[in-house]
Structures are given as structure tokens and as C-alpha cells.
């Protein structure tokens, strides 16, 4: 079973040389720490920066340079700042190559719910609806089950949707799965996790085709 850092490390393997990547809040943010040295990627943050670097050294924080999580950041050589409209032109126009974001639920046809729980305070969708509506390569990073132990990989989402039929791949603490026409196709198991373990906590259709390899890092 993976912890959050393990999920982030596995997600980092999805990065390809030359990718522009938008990372959501939470586990996805950690992915930036594990970019393979052999490739160049640039991180876009929808509040208006491309080419984000690490957090600033203590005392170097600039209130005017933050990411979409409102965290103080730095920029790398080649970075640029821009307005919100141009930022979403990058997203809507499919110039961002990969979006990694968290979710409360994903359905077997690729629907995603990650912004609203009826009866609870709604914080808003932020840029998530634009991202999932347009990105061609969307990977969800999440725990396989919620705190109550219920599967988050469902036949149909129960929560209000963020986007329809958009998720391509899911990396959880237990597995890597691809969203196919027939359901969740199991691609990899987390170390020490069996196919049976994954079956038990996957409510949506799970496709197991041959031997399922254990993840390698």
C-alpha cells in the first residue's frame, strides 16, 4: 500500500519530457518533488504562472508570487506571468499536456466528482471544471477508499459532478487503473497489495486482464 508520497512518486512516472503540467492541490502538488532528472517539464498554475520552482527560502517570500494553492513560490529561468484569461486559454486550448488532480469519486466512465458535498459547506470548483472539461490527459490521484472505507471508484458518481467522461487514469494508494469503455482496467498493483484486495474496494466494474504487475519506481 502506498502513502501519499508513494502515490506522488508513482504519478511522477507519468511525466514525459516536454510536458506542461497542472497539478491540483494535495497529493498532486507533491509530484513536483519527484520529477525524473532526465526530463524537462514545466508546471503551470492557473492563477497565472508557468515555470514554477520550489518554495522560496525563508525570508524570500513574495506576496505577489503565489500558486493556485495560495502558497508562496519561486519561479525558474524561462518562467512567465500572465492574466487569468490567458491562463485558461492554456487549459481550454489544450496547451497544458497533463492535469493531475484529486477526487472524491470517479465513475467507471470517467466522470469525476471533487467539488461539492451536498449539505456541507461548498468551497467552489475553482479551476477544476475548466481543467477537466478540456484537458486531454487527466490523471486522478486519490485514496482508493474514503474515510468510511467506501470505494471511491464507482459505477456512477453519487456526488455532484465536476466533469463528465474525462478521467483517463487513476493512481491510488492501491493501484493504477485506466478508464476504458468497459470500466476500470487494472494496470498495476501497489507493493504488497493483491488483486483481491483491490477487487474488494472497487465498486465500479474492474477489468483484470492477465497478470497484474506490481508497481515499480
Amino acid at each position: 500500500m502506498l502513502d501519499k508520497i508513494g502515490i506522488a512518486k508513482r504519478l511522477a512516472k507519468e511525466l514525459k519530457d516536454g510536458y506542461y503540467v497542472n497539478l491540483g492541490i494535495g497529493i498532486p502538488t507533491l509530484v513536483a518533488n519527484y520529477v525524473p532528472k532526465s526530463i524537462a517539464v514545466e508546471f503551470q498554475s492557473e492563477n497565472g504562472v508557468l515555470g514554477m520552482g520550489p518554495f522560496p527560502f525563508e525570508g524570500d517570500e513574495d506576496a505577489d508570487v503565489i500558486n493556485a494553492g495560495k502558497q508562496t513560490i519561486t519561479t525558474l529561468p524561462g518562467a512567465s506571468f500572465f492574466d487569468s484569461a490567458l491562463s485558461f486559454s492554456m487549459i481550454r486550448g489544450k496547451h497544458v499536456n497533463l492535469t493531475i488532480l484529486g477526487a472524491m469519486e470517479v465513475s467507471e466512465n470517467g466522470d469525476i466528482a471533487n467539488w461539492k458535498i451536498p449539505g456541507k459547506m461548498v468551497k467552489g470548483m475553482g479551476g477544476a471544471m475548466d481543467l477537466v472539461a478540456s484537458a486531454e490527459n487527466i490523471i486522478v490521484a486519490m485514496m482508493h477508499t474514503n474515510k468510511a472505507g467506501d470505494s471511491k471508484l464507482l459505477k456512477n458518481c453519487l456526488l455532484p459532478l465536476t466533469g463528465v467522461g474525462c478521467v483517463k487514469k487513476i493512481v491510488t494508494n492501491l493501484a493504477v487503473l485506466e478508464v476504458t469503455r468497459l470500466g476500470f482496467k487494472l494496470l498495476e498493483r501497489a507493493p504488497g497489495v493483491s488483486v483481491e484486495d483491490i477487487k474488494k474496494v472497487t465498486e465500479g466494474t474492474l477489468i483484470i486482464d492477465g497478470e497484474i504487475p506490481e508497481m515499480s519506481f
Partner: protein, 232 residues
């Protein structure tokens, strides 16, 4: 072409209860701090505010919420504010949540004279409920209207009396998209420089979109999430 006004009070002399306001900023970054303070001081009520976020409890738009001056918020993310939550759940505050890119583009549409946009964002979700949807090239889109607002309050880094603006870092965000998107756009700047100082090639927003500009003061620029790494 002198758009300079003496201070923030002069800049909003004709603002009234019930007005619709656009306010730049993302989180607390690049918000029009002086304009917000003046709105609090004026005590204007029943405002509709178009702003990506709603501030925090004791800063930004949170200050207006605290005094119950806001009737309706149009935002994409409002998560950092307890008073907001209380007013929203009690029904005192009307909230319209829309995707962030849609918010930016509805501002830009108003600035650019487009009546509507068609965007895929929100299709198939409750954001699209009651809205016209339409397929183009095999992909469904939602029709969204240009905003109509009385005032846009934006914050820039540098500006001149002609209204030309330059923003800094990610404090740019929605500010340029809101310029000229309301009947009256008021820009507050950290530094009002003499005409001719700004390089015409490096101006982010030409003065034509600005009606009033003033030198702001006492910028706090509060940081919401101070994240650092150690020097070791």
C-alpha cells in the same frame, strides 16, 4: 488624458447601494486593498461582488462580509472564510459559483464587447443547469453571458495618469481582464509614475480601459499560505 483622482474616496464618489462590483485578485494576491477599505468605510450595502475569491475572515472581501454589505457573491472558490460559510448556509448571502476560467472569460467578454461565450467548462454538471448547451465539433459547450457591472476595482503595480497599468507577478490574475469590463474601472497602483515613464511596449493594460486611477497606500499584501524551505 488625465484619469488621476486624489484618493480612493474621490474614485468611488458615485458608487451606491445595490451596485455590482468586480474586484481583481486571486486569494489575497493582487486585491484592491484600498478600494475594499473604502467600501467598508462607506458602508454601502446590497452589493453584488464578482471576484474569484471572497477573502478571509479579517481581510479582503471578508471585511465586507463581516459588515453584511454583500448581497451576492459570484466566485469560483470561497473556501477560506467562516463568516462567508455562516451567511451562505443561513441564506443571508446569495452565492453563484462558476468555473474559474468561465469567470475570467465572462469578464474578458464584457471588456471586449462579446455578448456570450461557449465553453466546455461545467457541461454535465449543475453549473450548466438552466443554461443553453450546444455541441460544436462533437463537444458540448455551455453558453455563458458577459458580466454587467457598475464598477471594476483593480490593483496594479505601476500606473500613469493616462491609466496605463503594469502588474507584478501573480498579482496580475483577474485584474487585467476586469479593466473596462464595468461601466467605470478604478485602478489603484502601488506607484503612480510620471507620464512617459512606462515603456509603451511593456504596458499590460492601456489606459483606454481605465476611468480613474489613484496612488494607493498602506498595502498590507497579506500572505495566505506562507510556504518556505530552509536554507540549509
Amino acid at each position: 488624458m488625465n484619469k488621476k483622482v486624489e484618493n480612493v474616496a474621490k474614485a468611488m464618489i458615485d458608487l451606491k447601494n445595490g451596485d455590482t462590483l468586480m474586484l481583481g485578485g486571486f486569494g489575497l494576491c493582487g486585491i484592491p486593498e484600498n478600494a475594499i477599505s473604502e467600501l467598508v468605510r462607506l458602508g454601502v450595502k446590497d452589493l453584488t461582488c464578482i471576484s474569484n475569491n471572497a477573502g478571509v475572515d479579517d481581510f479582503g472581501l471578508g471585511l465586507l462580509l463581516h459588515k453584511k454589505q454583500i448581497k451576492k457573491m459570484i466566485s469560483s472558490y470561497v473556501g477560506e472564510n467562516d463568516e462567508f460559510e455562516r451567511q451562505m448556509l443561513s441564506g443571508e448571502l446569495d452565492v453563484e459559483l462558476i468555473p474559474q476560467g468561465t469567470l475570467a472569460e465572462r469578464c474578458r467578454a464584457a471588456q471586449a464587447g462579446f455578448p456570450v461565450i461557449f465553453t466546455p467548462a461545467g457541461y454535465g454538471t449543475e453549473v450548466a443547469e438552466g443554461k443553453e448547451t450546444r455541441e460544436f465539433d462533437g463537444k458540448m459547450n455551455v453558453m455563458e453571458y458577459a458580466f454587467k457591472a457598475d464598477f471594476a476595482f483593480v490593483k496594479a503595480w505601476k500606473g500613469d495618469e493616462a491609466g496605463n497599468l503594469i502588474f507584478k507577478g501573480t498579482a496580475r490574475n483577474f485584474n487585467p481582464n476586469m479593466c473596462g469590463a464595468a461601466k467605470i474601472t478604478v485602478a489603484e497602483v502601488e506607484e503612480l509614475v510620471p507620464l512617459g515613464t512606462l515603456d509603451p511596449n511593456q504596458i499590460h493594460i492601456p489606459g483606454i480601459f481605465i476611468q480613474r486611477i489613484f496612488q494607493g497606500k498602506n498595502y498590507e499584501k497579506r500572505i495566505e499560505q506562507r510556504t518556505v524551505r530552509s536554507r540549509s
